[in-house]
């Protein structure tokens, strides 16, 4: 394997869970697209530091709110696209227009901007103003999801192989086999250590692990604790939180005591320690540490089966039909050991005296349960959800999951909705505090969620590569941060 060895000295080989459907920049919030494109091929105007959660300059050097609804950005100069055209305000404006205001149906549009249209104006070559219809304190954060493309990019169709300003350009994409990136000489920043990055994909996590073990790959994404990768496995907090979302619109979950009982009945410690070998953290809220709004004071529900039982009994005594079936809806293969987790939950809720039926569904079916409009006549549903807040701001979580009209929320209260609206409009410390309160309030008064754990991701990493994964590595794997271990 001397060939491979020679190659590996200047190429880093990454194995992913699936082939990116496209490398289109405006779809880069899709995990498998973003992991290749973001910060490697294309770059955003503003970048969020996954470690600190702070926003940092990238193609924009400065930004500030010039009014309630207007933000002005100063752009970096001397940056070129990989096709040789210069990066300027026109290109930045074009990027925003293309992603947010066009008929392309970009994924990132829905994900980050909702149906709000932005007004963008290139004031001069290096100045850009963005106007929002409503005041938006986190617009810069939202902009960090937009990868900048040149004006030559099609506005009528998505492009599979984008041109960007990043340190790597797409050298070749052998459909079905691999994608090769190579360094671009005209990059404005530092030249990365690896001349090439090669992406392959295998859907079995054990195979991905095996590839690192056998030296066929340098970095393997998304491994499971049972893949037996030994000391080649590197853990990192991946921002994902697992919880049950409880539907309070049907008996018996329409009684808060039953929802509390669910929380008491789950042995979170046991699950984390036994199923996930202690690598995950017991969760008390939907966002992990590091996300703006995380309430570190929350301790969550203790495991207390007796309490759970008595709560169920109480509810029953009050006429709640606790024998009604609760569907525990789980998406198969969503994350490692999810089937086991489902079975554990079913068993534990059963012990509390609830009648739980486990429903393992494939993605598309699961989605019909996950987002509005929810299926009718399904009875009580406890939906297992894995939520990852990539943006680092609780608003992305709360608007979706807790607002009574939220796309992924079963219910809420007017009071709670008001709290959320207030927090959304706030900024700075106030914003932080508002969200912390919201999480506490949900646990106290709403109880739509039974939180289980904050997950830890595992990547496999060959000894020959130096790289420290962080909470965004799963979405944005910066090759430039990798160096060969000499």
């Amino acid at each position: 394997n001397s060939d491979a060895a020679a190659l590996s000295s200047n190429t880093v080989r990454v194995v992913l869970g699936q082939e990116p459907p496209t490398l289109e920049a405006c779809e880069s919030n899709l995990t498998s697209t973003g992991v290749v494109v973001r910060s490697n091929v294309t770059e955003p105007l503003i970048e969020r530091n996954p470690k600190t959660g702070e926003l940092e300059p990238k193609l924009a050097t400065e930004w500030k709110a010039t009014s309630d609804t207007e933000w002005t950005l100063k752009l970096r100069e001397g940056v070129k696209f990989q096709d040789g055209t210069p990066f300027n305000a026109e290109a930045a404006a074009f990027t925003i227009d293309r992603a947010v205001n066009s008929k392309l149906g970009c994924n990132v549009e829905g994900y980050v901007f909702g149906d709000a249209d932005l007004k963008v104006k290139a004031v001069d070559a290096s100045t850009l103003t963005v106007t929002t219809p409503e005041p938006d304190p986190i617009l810069p954060l939202r902009l960090s999801f937009l990868e900048v493309v040149p004006t030559s990019t099609s506005t009528t169709a998505k492009v599979r192989e984008p041109i960007g300003t990043g340190p790597y350009k797409i050298e070749q994409w052998d459909s079905g086999q691999k994608i090769t990136l190579s360094t671009w000489d005209g990059y404005w920043g530092d030249k990365p250590a690896y001349a090439k990055a090669e992406y392959q994909w295998r859907s079995e996590s054990s195979v991905r692990a095996a590839m690192v073990t056998s030296g066929e790959a340098d970095v393997a994404m998304g491994l499971s604790p049972d893949d037996n990768i030994g000391d080649l496995g590197v853990d990192y907090p991946n921002n994902e939180t697992v919880a049950l979302r409880l539907d309070a619109n049907a008996a018996p979950l329409n009684d808060i005591r039953v929802r509390q009982a669910v929380n008491y009945a789950i042995d979170k410690e046991g699950i984390v320690n036994s199923l996930y070998q202690g690598k995950h953290k017991v969760a008390a809220q939907l966002v992990p540490e590091g996300v703006v709004g995380h309430n570190s004071a929350l301790t969550g529900w203790p495991f207390d089966l007796d309490k759970a039982k008595s709560l169920v009994a109480e509810a029953k005594a009050d006429g709640v039909d606790t024998s009604k079936q609760i569907s525990l809806v789980v998406r198969s293969a969503q994350f490692p050991k999810i089937t086991e987790l489902g079975q554990v939950l079913q068993e534990q809720l059963g012990q509390a005296g609830l009648n739980v039926k486990l429903k393992m569904l494939e993605t598309s079916q699961h989605l019909t349960y996950q987002v509005r409009p929810f299926p009718k006549d399904e009875g009580a549903v406890a939906l297992m959800t894995q939520h990852g807040n990539q943006a680092g701001d609780a608003a992305f979580t709360v608007d979706q999951y807790m607002l009574s009209t939220g796309a992924q929320s079963y219910f809420g209260t007017p009071e709670f909705d008001a709290m959320i609206k207030k927090a959304d409009a706030a900024s700075g410390d106030e914003r932080k505090k508002d969200f912390e309160e919201i999480f506490a309030y949900q646990n106290d008064k709403v109880v739509q969620f039974a939180h289980i754990s904050h997950q830890t991701g595992i990547i496999g990493k060959a000894k020959s590569v130096n790289y420290t994964p962080n909470s965004s590595s799963g979405d944005e794997l910066r090759v430039a941060e990798m160096t060969p271990a000499s």
Binding site: P21, G110, R160, S364
Partner: protein, 309 residues
């Protein structure tokens, strides 16, 4: 022969249409793909846009008419997932599967012939018992399990073979070995059975009475007669491989049509699914015709020119 071929091709056309119509209708029964392609918090407006953009709001019959109109213009639509031409995606994936299936079947048939003949020489003898045990076990081991064990043993522990991928000849070994086992196991049984009965035919005795030795009797006289049932079964197994090497393709990252199909199904990528099914169905019909021609090659009695109408 040509007339026969033409007839067969014409008579395959209608079933092909049925297959496509079936796939078309069934696929749309699995629900609107909007939620798969739109962000979780997409608004109803966005969903409606998506549905309209992809023509999914039309009545099924209209969609189908559109589709067949496209097919006649050789336009099979675009992939929802990748935005590429659906037919191109299917055509790109197909050779990988075909190569894998063909190599596997050729090896399986050869191996099964050797082992099956060996077993048939002495029915109920030691060789027969051993080979039937081994072949039955081979036929009943789950392929994904074998694949993973294979990777573990040959790629990780011994380091002889790459774990997966398509680069280089050595990457073929594990997928083929995994796929091979069931066809091999089934075919050994079939070859053995038909060999045993072929060897008891009077013409075999006559060949012996001409002084033909055991090897010659087996390879020259019995084999060709025993081949027809093996051909039938090999055909069915090949159909299975062409259509369903999904598991192996999934595990070994083999960019084949089976993987493409399951992905398209799970991702509700209708155009790609339809193109892939159409392609494999054509291939399967062609395979069936080839097999019928194989019979004719093996045995003059079934040549269409001489069979009774």
């Amino acid at each position: 022969m040509l007339i026969y071929l033409r007839k067969r091709i014409v008579s395959s056309a209608l079933p092909l249409v049925v297959v496509i119509v079936g796939v078309f209708a069934l696929a749309r029964m699995t629900g609107n793909p909007a939620s798969l392609y739109l962000p979780l918090n997409a608004t109803q407006q966005m969903r409606d846009d998506f549905t309209a953009r992809n023509g999914l709001d039309q009545p099924l019959l209209v969609q189908m008419a559109d589709y067949f109109g496209g097919v006649f213009r050789l336009d099979f639509g675009q992939s929802l997932r990748t935005g590429q031409d659906a037919a191109a995606m299917a055509l790109r994936a197909f050779p990988a599967t075909l190569q894998l299936a063909a190599t596997t079947m050729v090896l399986a048939v050869l191996l099964a012939l050797v082992v099956g003949c060996w077993a048939a020489l002495k029915p109920n003898g030691i060789a027969d018992r051993i080979s039937s045990f081994v072949s039955m076990a081979a036929a009943s081991i789950p392929d994904f399990w074998l694949a993973i064990v294979g990777i573990w043993v040959f790629a990780i522990t011994l380091g002889w073979l790459p774990t997966s991928g398509v680069s280089g000849a050595s990457a073929w070994v594990l997928p083929i070995a995994t796929l091979l086992l069931r066809p091999f196991g089934v075919l050994v049984q079939i070859v053995r059975g038909s060999m045993v009965s072929a060897l008891s035919e009077p013409y075999i005795k006559l060949a012996r009475s001409r002084g033909a030795g055991e090897l010659r009797v087996v390879t020259h006289h019995a084999l060709r007669n025993a081949a027809a049932p093996a051909l039938t079964v090999a055909g069915d197994l090949t159909v299975g491989l062409v259509n369903g090497a999904v598991v192996v393709e999934t595990i070994f990252g083999w960019p084949g049509i089976g993987k493409l199909m399951i992905d398209s199904i799970l991702q509700r990528d209708f155009a790609v699914l339809q193109a892939a099914v159409l392609l494999t169905a054509v291939a399967i019909f062609a395979l069936n015709i080839l097999i019928d021609m194989g019979y004719a090659l093996l045995d003059a009695r079934v040549r269409p020119v001489t069979v009774k109408a």
